[in-house]
Amino acid sequence: MRYLIDNFPYVLSLIGQHLVMSGLSLAIALVIALPIGIVCARVARLRNLVLGILGVIYTIPSLSLFVLLIPFTGLGLRPAVIALVAYAQLVLVRNVVVGLTGIDPAIVEAARGMGMTAAQRLWRVELPLALPIILAGVRVAMLSIIAIGTIAAFINAGGLGLLLFDGVRSSNPEKIIAGAVAVSALAISANGILWLIEQRVFQATRGVTGTKN
C-alpha cells in the first residue's frame, strides 16, 4: 500500500493510460462489431461462419497475438488496440446477433406491416429492443479488455501492466500489489457504471419505468 500512496500521481497516470487504451479499443470494437452483428442477424448462413472465425481469434493467447502484430505495426499502442479490438469482437458480435434475433417476431411483423423501411425498423424498433443485450456484451468486452490490456505493457503500450511487469522484474511485491489493486479498482468501477447504464436501458426498453421520461 505504501508504494501506491507514495507514487499516487504516477499510478494515476498509468490508470489514465489504461483507460484511454481500453476505451479506444472498446469504441473501435463496437464500430466494427455493430455492422457485422447486424448483417449476421439478417443472414443466417453467415452467422456460424463469422462467429466461428471470431471464436478462433478469441482462443489465440494474448501475449502471442501482441507479439505477432509487432512486425506489421511496430511497438506501442497501435498493436495493443488492434489485438484488444480483435478479442472483443466475439462477445460483441454474438450479443448483437442474440439481441436482434431474440426480438418477438410479432413486433417485427407489426413494424413491417405498418410500413417502416428496413432502416426505420432497425433504428426505431430492433436496435432499441436489442440494446440491453448489446450493452451486456459491451460490459463483458470492457472487462476483458481491461484485463488483457495489462499484458500490452509488454509491447510498450503502457498502462497498469507496467506496474506488474516492473514489479516482477525487480522483485517488488509492493509494486505488484499496487498494480493489481489499481486494475481491479478500474475493472470493478467500469463494471458497476456499465451495469447501471444497462439496467436503466433495460427498464426503458421493456417499458417498466415509472411515468417520467
Binding site: A110, R112, G113, M114, G115, M116, P128, T205, T211
Partner: protein
C-alpha cells in the same frame, strides 16, 4: 367498381408443392366487413398478408381502389392499410401515445395534428386519455388490443386487415371489443378484412363470410345465405349451419312480423312483457318460451305492431332460409 379485386391470386411458398393460396378471385365493395373463416392452415393469414404485401403473390393480381398494389412501394402501400394482429405487436419500448403515432410520423404529419389525433383515437377506442403515457406492459390484454386498433386506425386508412385480433381475449372482453368494432365500422365505414376461428364472432361481425378450405374459396356470401344454403357439407359442419338458434340470431322480430303479414290483435293487455322490432329472434324465442309460450306483443314508440308466437318464429325461420332476399 369494387374496392378490392383479387384475380387468381396464388401463393406457393418456396420448397412447397401445394399452393397455400390457390387461384383465389373475389371482389369486395368499399365499406364491406368481410370475415375470413376456415380451418387452421387453409391460407387465411397468407391471403391477408398478400394484400399488404408482407407476402408477394406467386401469381395473380390484386387491385385496391383500381390500383395494382405492385405499382407502388410496399412501404407506401402499408402506411395506407391498417394492420392488426392477435399478438398486438405493440412496441414495448414506446408509450401508448408513441405507438399510436408511428404511422402518422412515418407520413410526416406535424406535431399538433398527431397530438390531436392521439386524443381522438383514445376516445374512439374508449381508453382514458391518461393512458397516453403508459407502456404496453402496463395494460391488460383487452386494453392492449384497443391500442393496437387505435394504432392501425391512426392515419385513417380506408382498408383494415385484422388477423384474429380478439383471439387471445376472454369471452366477455371479446364481446365488448366486437361491439366497439361494429360501432367504429358504422361510424367510419372502413373496408375490413377480418380473420377469425370463432363462428359466432364471424356471424356477428360479417357483412359477408369468405369461407376457405385448402387455399381455395368455397363460399363467399352473407351469413344468412351461408347458413341457409351451405355450399357443401364442409361449410355446413364448419358453421354448425344446422344450429337453429344460430340462424335465429341473424333474424329480427321485424323480419318475422313482415313475413307474417301483421295479423295480431291490437288490443292492449295491461302490464306485460313486450318485444322490440330490432330484437333478434333467438332472444325473442327465449322470452316467449319463458312466458309460457304465450305470444308477446311487439311494441315500438308505444304502438303495438303485432305479436310474436312460437309458430310465427318457426315459419319465419323456414321462409327466410328458403327464400333469401338478395
Amino acid at each position: 367498381m369494387a374496392f378490392i379485386i383479387a384475380d387468381r391470386l396464388t401463393k406457393t411458398f418456396p420448397g412447397e408443392t401445394r399452393p397455400a393460396v390457390d387461384q383465389v378471385s373475389f371482389e369486395i365493395k368499399q365499406g364491406e366487413f368481410v370475415v375470413l373463416l376456415g380451418p387452421s392452415g387453409c391460407g387465411k393469414t397468407t391471403l391477408l398478408k398478400m394484400i399488404n404485401r408482407l407476402y408477394e403473390p406467386t401469381s395473380g393480381r390484386l387491385l385496391i381502389d383500381g390500383v395494382d398494389v405492385r405499382s407502388m412501394p410496399a412501404t407506401a402501400l402499408r402506411r395506407r392499410i391498417g394492420y392488426v394482429i392477435q399478438q398486438t405487436g405493440l412496441f414495448p419500448h414506446l408509450r401508448v401515445e408513441q405507438n399510436i403515432a408511428v404511422v402518422p410520423q412515418l407520413l410526416r404529419w406535424d406535431r399538433a395534428r398527431i397530438e390531436a389525433r392521439i386524443d381522438e383515437l383514445l376516445d374512439l377506442v374508449e381508453l382514458p386519455r391518461s393512458y397516453r403515457r403508459r407502456y404496453p406492459r402496463q395494460l391488460s390484454g383487452g386494453e392492449q388490443q384497443r391500442v393496437g386498433l387505435a394504432r392501425a386506425l391512426a392515419a385513417d386508412p380506408s382498408l383494415m386487415l385484422m388477423d384474429e385480433p380478439f383471439g387471445a381475449l376472454d369471452a366477455i372482453t371479446r364481446a365488448r371489443l366486437q361491439e366497439e368494432l361494429l360501432r367504429i365500422q358504422q361510424r367510419l365505414h372502413k373496408t375490413i378484412l377480418f380473420v377469425t376461428h370463432d363462428v359466432d364472432e364471424a356471424l356477428r361481425l360479417a357483412d359477408r363470410l369468405l369461407i376457405m378450405r385448402a387455399g381455395r374459396i368455397v363460399q363467399f356470401d352473407t351469413p344468412l345465405a351461408v347458413l341457409a344454403e351451405p355450399a357443401d357439407d364442409f361449410v355446413r359442419d364448419l358453421l354448425g349451419a344446422d344450429d337453429v338458434l344460430r340462424r335465429l340470431s341473424l333474424l329480427t322480430v321485424a323480419d318475422a312480423l313482415a313475413s307474417d303479414g301483421m295479423n295480431g290483435d291490437h288490443t292492449a293487455h295491461g302490464i306485460q312483457e313486450t318485444l322490440n322490432p330490432g330484437d333478434n329472434l333467438r332472444e325473442a324465442l327465449i322470452r316467449v318460451l319463458r312466458s309460457g309460450g304465450r305470444p308477446l306483443p311487439v311494441v315500438e314508440n308505444g304502438r303495438q305492431l303485432g305479436r310474436i308466437s312460437p309458430d310465427i318464429i318457426a315459419s319465419a325461420l323456414t321462409r327466410k332460409t328458403h327464400a333469401l332476399p338478395d
